[in-house]
Each structure stands twice: as C-alpha cells, then as structure tokens.
C-alpha cells in the first residue's frame, strides 16, 4: 500500500494533467437546461388517462378495436353454425323426389293383405308434403279424416313406387313403407304434445267444416 501512496514517481504525469485547460460549459447552458426542465414538467403533467385520449394515442387504439370487431364478424360469418335446433328448422325439400309438373292424382288403394300395414302408408291429395310416423294410433286419427285431405292406403304397389299427390315414395311389396330415401322428420311426442295436436286437429276440422259451409 505504501507503494501506491508514493506519488513522486508520477510527478510528470500529474503536472501534465493539472496543466490541462479547464473545460467550460457553453454560454447558453443554463437556458437550455431550464428549457428542458420545463419541457419535462409539461410532459409530466399529462396523466396516463389524459394521454390515452389524445388523438395520437386514440388512433392506434381505435384501429385495434375496429380490427378486433371485423375479425370477430368475419370469423363468425364464414364458419357454419352447428348449434341449430332441428325442431325449428323446416325439413329440406328434396328436388330429386318431388315432381312438380305431374298432375295431382288421388289414388285409392284397397287393403287386401295385411291389416297391420293399413296405417303405414298414406297419401295426401292437397297437402304436398307428407308426415310419416311410426306412431300408428295417432296416425289413424289424423290421416283417416277426409276433411284433412289425407287418406291411408295399405295396398302394396306393383311398381314398388307410390305417387301420392306430389311425393314419390318407395314401399316394399308387402305394403310396409320403406323409409329409405324419404325426406321426413320423425318426432316422438309426449302425452301433452299429443293432446295439443289433437286439439289443433279438432280446430282445423272445425275450420274446414266452417269453410265448406
């Protein structure tokens, strides 16, 4: 440590350094300094919320918001929705089984063979589309009524194809309906729903009766 305390070895260097010209600040040093301080002060006074609503800050934030909304809509438009309620959607009309240029023909088919299949096949005269259901007890009530324009047929077809009003359906030779290829919707009804349908049916009957008069 004594070696470091001995400055005499470097007297020449010390002298050279001490004789160096003193550097002075530029004449406008203080003016510039206070300008900078005042500038800092004015910037500091603006709070974060104030800055957020300055036009320069508002532009990028609004652009981002608009972009988010656009992306949201674009992704929702082009992605098919899968959450549809099938009960609220009308059945799809199949063009390949519907012939519109054919005349409406009422076909009466006698039931010769099987009593069991009587209620299975029915056709419409005025209603273009047909509702089929395995629930035969309800069907009997609904379809046997001539006022509704619905008749039940049970006879097997020679050509294995029925033309009933406007719908072509396929059936097996024994008279039972082959559901393949049909465009229908099968719904299992609750007791309450059945009662409601029955009420609706009665209302319709009444309406038709009134209209016939």
């Amino acid at each position: 440590m004594k070696k470091f305390d001995d400055d005499s070895n470097y007297d020449g260097v010390k002298k050279v350094l001490q004789n160096l010209k003193k550097i002075e600040a530029p004449p406008n040093f203080e003016q510039k300094l206070f300008d900078r301080i005042n500038q800092d002060e004015s910037e500091k006074k603006l709070s974060f919320i104030d800055r957020l609503f300055l036009p320069s800050y508002l532009i990028p934030s609004s652009v981002i918001a608009v972009a988010i909304v656009l992306i949201f809509f674009l992704t929702n438009i082009f992605v098919p929705s899968t959450g549809e309620n099938p009960l609220l959607v009308n059945p799809r009309v199949r063009e390949d089984v519907i012939s519109t240029n054919l005349p409406i023909v009422t076909k009466k088919v006698e039931n010769k063979t099987n009593q069991k299949t009587t209620n299975d096949v029915f056709e419409t005269t005025e209603i273009p589309q047909q509702n089929l259901s395995d629930n035969s007890s309800n069907k009997t009530n609904l379809t046997n009524n001539p006022n509704l324009g619905i008749r039940i047929t049970g006879e097997p077809s020679q050509s294995n194809t029925y033309y009933n009003g406007s719908i072509l359906t396929s059936a097996s030779p024994d008279g039972s309906i082959n559901k393949r290829g049909l465009d229908y919707k099968q719904i299992y009804l609750q007791r309450l729903q059945k009662v409601q349908i029955e009420q609706m049916r009665k209302k319709m009957e009444e309406m038709l009766r009134n209209s016939n008069r």
Binding site: D5, V16, L17, L20, E30
Partner: protein, 196 residues
C-alpha cells in the same frame, strides 16, 4: 431569502433548501457552481464536447427531478459526481456501440455519405498548446475507463481519495491502486511530452 444570501450557503444547505421549499434560486446556484467542474470531468472522460454537454445537462435534470433522494449524510459533490459518472459511463457504452455499428456499416457500403464532425469549436485545439492538450486527451482516452475515472478525479478534479472512493463505491486502497495504474499507463503514453 435573497440570491446574495443563497450564495453564502454551502452546497448541502442549498440542496436542503431546494428539497424543503422547492427554491429554484438555490438550484440555480448549484448549477452555476457545478456546471464547469462537471463539464471538465465528463469531457476528459468522454472526449466529446457535445456529448459532455448533454451528460452534464442530464445530470442537472436528475438533480432537479430526484432532489428528494439526496440524503444529508453525504456530501453534495459526491452525490452529483456519482450521478454524472454513471451517466458518463452509459454515454461511453453508447458511443462504443455506435462506433461498432458505423464500422460495420462502412464495411458493407463505402458509397454512403458520412457526417464530418465540426472541429471548429474544440476547446482544446484553439492554440498551439491545444495540440498538446489534444495529445494528452487522446492518451487519457486510451487507458481503461476505471483507471481513467480515478485519475481524472484525483489529478484533474483534485478530489480526495475518500471522496473518490465514495463516488466510485470502492475502497480507498482500490482507488489508490487504480490511480497508480492509470498514471503508469499515461506515463508510457505521454513520455515524449513531459520530457520536453
């Protein structure tokens, strides 16, 4: 209190006055007292007058803004030199990075236009002795920053070992060691000057 009275106050009294009463006059006197010593120190450390002015201004702004962080147990000069020293080191690092970048850029494309520094206002090149000053300054810049800082504080700013130790946050022994190593390096670099 008038300006005349403020001039009679010590640095520590002035900064306390500025802290407590936010007296701008007290701060102005501190700026007047320290602008030249700081300019001298930072210029010798960086070797760039423009950068040195910026660093000293930044030091004063930090004093103004963070006046409350000064504690009366320390000397004001120690505090302000510590701030200036840290800012000068940061500027030195920035200059090194800039230099590296410009060298790389020059290597890639020699056709680019470069700004030629204005040498007309250089405080150490106004007279013949300015040439010697320039040589000395170049020699100072050649020694490592740690030794350079210690030598400048001791031989140019004439601070005590204890003050230097406090500013540089090292022991007095380390300060003496660094000063000696710095002087030794300078002696080798400036042999031909002080022999004349």
């Amino acid at each position: 209190m008038t300006d005349k009275n403020f001039n009679d106050l010590t640095d520590e009294e002035l900064i306390v006055e500025f802290q407590i009463n936010n007296t701008i006059a007290a701060f102005e006197i501190l700026v007047k007292r320290y602008k030249n010593p700081l300019m001298n120190y930072v210029f010798r450390f960086l070797g760039d007058y423009e950068a040195c002015t910026d660093v000293v201004q930044e030091t004063m702004i930090k004093v103004y803004r963070y006046k409350d962080s000064y504690q009366s147990i320390a000397k004001f000069s120690t505090w302000i030199y510590t701030i200036a020293g840290n800012l000068a080191k940061t500027e030195l690092q920035r200059q090194k990075r800039r230099k590296m970048f410009s060298i790389n850029a020059y290597g890639k494309d020699n056709d680019e236009n470069y700004e030629i520094p204005d040498e007309s206002f250089r405080p150490d090149s106004e007279t013949d002795t300015g040439i010697i000053n320039e040589i000395i300054q170049k020699a100072i810049l050649k020694i490592s920053p740690a030794y350079r800082q210690a030598v400048i504080f001791r031989d140019i700013q004439e601070l005590s070992y204890e003050e230097i130790a406090e500013i540089m946050n090292i022991t007095v022994g380390t300060v003496k060691s660094r000063i000696n190593r710095g002087r030794s390096q300078l002696q080798k670099l400036l042999k031909h000057i002080y022999k004349d």
